[in-house]
């Protein structure tokens, strides 16, 4: 299990004046789910790439499980962190599902005789074992994202970063991927960081970091952030269904409990009231 410590990082592309990120600090606890949200172009994708060492900060430091991210530690960092990108098509390297899962193992110089089991186990975990020899052209977007996850799981990472990984999927495929990720977090203690503007995905988070104009404008427990309708609307994310329904009920004179309720909790509370 690994935690992340981000301290005062600033990032600026060499050819631009304004920094993409300014003085960002936060922690990610092991086995937790953190959502990073904000406008398009707020710098949230850049932040994800910095954590994975795909970009190196202009100032500040990032530590993964006590190891500082730098050019020298990239090998270890990439092994600890799995990254799922937005477009399912553009991260599928292999000629078949099995080949794609093998890609990361090949980079880690895993011996061929040890790969078969790792590949099978990883595909089993994401429910794609029977597609092992299928070529990418015959897979749906959701299936490709599962394979991407299998490719990561084969390397036993401690952290998975999702960069809008479900935004190109249909609702059912999205739901399935999110259920799978929840299971991975609970059963394997993998920390999840999701860069997203999907409200269902945001509601799964334990903690939320809101980025606007290159800075963190709010961070805290999901319950606190999701109650802040004004901020959520401002950054284009919108208000989660649970909060919208609670507001509608409140304006209709219903007394709701004074604490934050997510959709599951709200549904259960309502069902008790309506018995």
């Amino acid at each position: 299990m690994a935690g992340i410590k981000v301290r005062n990082i600033t990032f600026k592309y060499p050819d631009s004046k304004a920094p993409v990120l300014k003085n960002i600090s936060f922690n990610v606890e092991p086995a937790s789910w953190t959502a990073i949200i904000g406008h398009n172009g707020s710098g949230k994708s850049t932040l994800a790439r910095l954590i994975d060492g795909l970009l190196i900060p202009t100032a500040g430091s990032i530590e993964i499980d006590g190891i500082r991210v730098s050019e020298a530690t990239l090998g270890i960092i990439h092994q600890q962190i799995g990254f799922v990108f937005q477009n399912p098509e553009n991260q599928f390297v292999g000629a078949t599902v099995a080949d794609d899962v093998a890609f990361g193992l090949e980079n880690r110089q895993v011996l061929p005789e040890k790969m078969e089991k790792k590949i099978n186990d990883a595909l089993e975990m994401v429910g794609m074992l029977k597609y092992k020899d299928v070529e990418p052209i015959n897979l749906s977007g959701g299936q490709k994202q599962r394979v991407a996850l299998a490719g990561i799981l084969a390397l036993m990472p401690k952290i998975i970063i999702l960069d809008e990984a479900t935004s190109m999927l249909d609702p059912l495929a999205r739901k399935e991927i999110l259920t799978l990720l929840k299971r991975l977090r609970d059963e394997q203690g993998i920390s999840i960081i999701s860069i997203t503007h999907d409200l269902d995905e945001i509601e799964l988070a334990d903690n939320i970091i809101v980025i606007n104009d290159a800075q963190i404008v709010k961070q805290g427990a999901a319950a606190d952030v999701l109650k802040n309708e004004k901020l959520l609307t401002e950054i284009g994310v919108g208000i989660p269904v649970s909060q919208r329904l609670q507001l509608l009920l409140a304006t209709r004179g219903i007394n709701l409990p004074n604490r934050y309720l997510n959709l599951e909790e709200l549904k259960n509370w309502l069902s008790q009231q309506l018995q």
Binding site: S167, D170, P171, H197, G236, V237, G238, L248, L270
Partner: protein, 286 residues
């Protein structure tokens, strides 16, 4: 009197070099100013159906009546291309089809192909940009220098500039955040209110619930339901069999009733309707 915009009679279509029929006998009528949602799994035939309606492919058999034209297996290519004067098609991720050096040139592409005069095209560009909520200053910019959301709007403007009376949209909000999604849907609704017939392919049942007056569900090349959203959602098991979801308001209502609540309307199409329904039942209890 309502006039029909599109009439489809027993259409069959099989893609070249394939064996299974992509459309196996589809008949339907779409009225002027309808807002039709087409739902179904990938491969259910919904993309094939809308491609046929836009004359992008020619039916193997059956007939299509659109804007006073009749298209069948014997129709000429020139006849098919005339359809584009009446029907606009916004593809999925339309920003991936931008190509011109400037925004204005890209938007002008469609009208230009339709043979419009230069003055008419200039007016159409400005009008289309305003409709999608982009400033006219962008006209001389390269479309590739814009943000993803702006590129999507430019691509949609390129279709709207052709002033289609029937507008087909394939998952127009895919990948957009909530705010951009709402803005785009508001625009589509406004077009519909002003007389444009809308045919929207979507997986988002909330959009079907809030915007469509009619929903067509497809499976394996045939239409299995052609009804109102309310009716469709009253058979949740059918939807689940088709790998489709329920809108969240309906899902909550049905969850509550399964737990023993007695909501009378089990298919509230919006959270507002759901809230009203809950308040009604709670009021009765007091």
């Amino acid at each position: 009197m309502v006039k029909s915009a599109v009439t489809v009679t027993n259409l069959h279509y099989t893609y070249p070099n394939t064996t299974t029929e992509a459309l196996a006998g589809v008949s339907l009528t779409i009225q002027e100013q309808d807002f039709v949602a087409i739902v179904g799994q990938t491969g259910s035939g919904k993309s094939t159906l809308v491609s046929l309606i836009d004359g992008l492919i020619q039916p193997d058999s059956g007939q299509l009546n659109i804007a006073g034209m009749t298209i069948d297996a014997t129709a000429k290519a020139s006849q098919l291309s005339k359809i584009h004067h009446h029907v606009g098609f916004v593809f999925q991720f339309p920003e991936q089809q931008l190509f011109a050096e400037t925004v204005a040139e890209d938007i002008a592409f469609g009208p230009h192909n339709l043979g419009w005069s230069e003055e008419k095209i200039q007016v159409a560009i400005d009008r289309a940009l305003m409709m999608v909520g982009l400033p006219l200053e962008l006209k001389s910019r390269s479309p590739f220098a814009l943000s993803g959301g702006q590129m999507r709007r430019v691509a949609i403007a390129g279709v709207l500039a052709m002033k289609p009376s029937i507008l087909i949209l394939d998952e127009p909000t895919a990948g957009l955040d909530t705010q951009a999604t709402n803005e785009l849907l508001t625009l589509i609704k406004k077009l519909n209110d002003n007389g444009t017939t809308i045919i929207m392919v979507t997986h988002q049942m909330e959009q079907v619930a809030s915007y469509a007056n009619r929903v067509i569900a497809m499976n394996k090349g045939t239409i299995i339901a052609d009804t109102t959203p309310q009716q469709l959602f009253s058979h949740p098991d059918d939807l689940i069999n088709l790998s489709l979801t329920l809108p969240v308001s309906v899902e909550i209502a049905q969850f509550l009733n399964n737990k023993g609540a007695k909501l009378t309307n089990t298919e509230p199409l919006s959270l507002e309707e759901l809230a009203d329904e809950i308040v009604k039942v709670m009021g009765r209890k007091r």
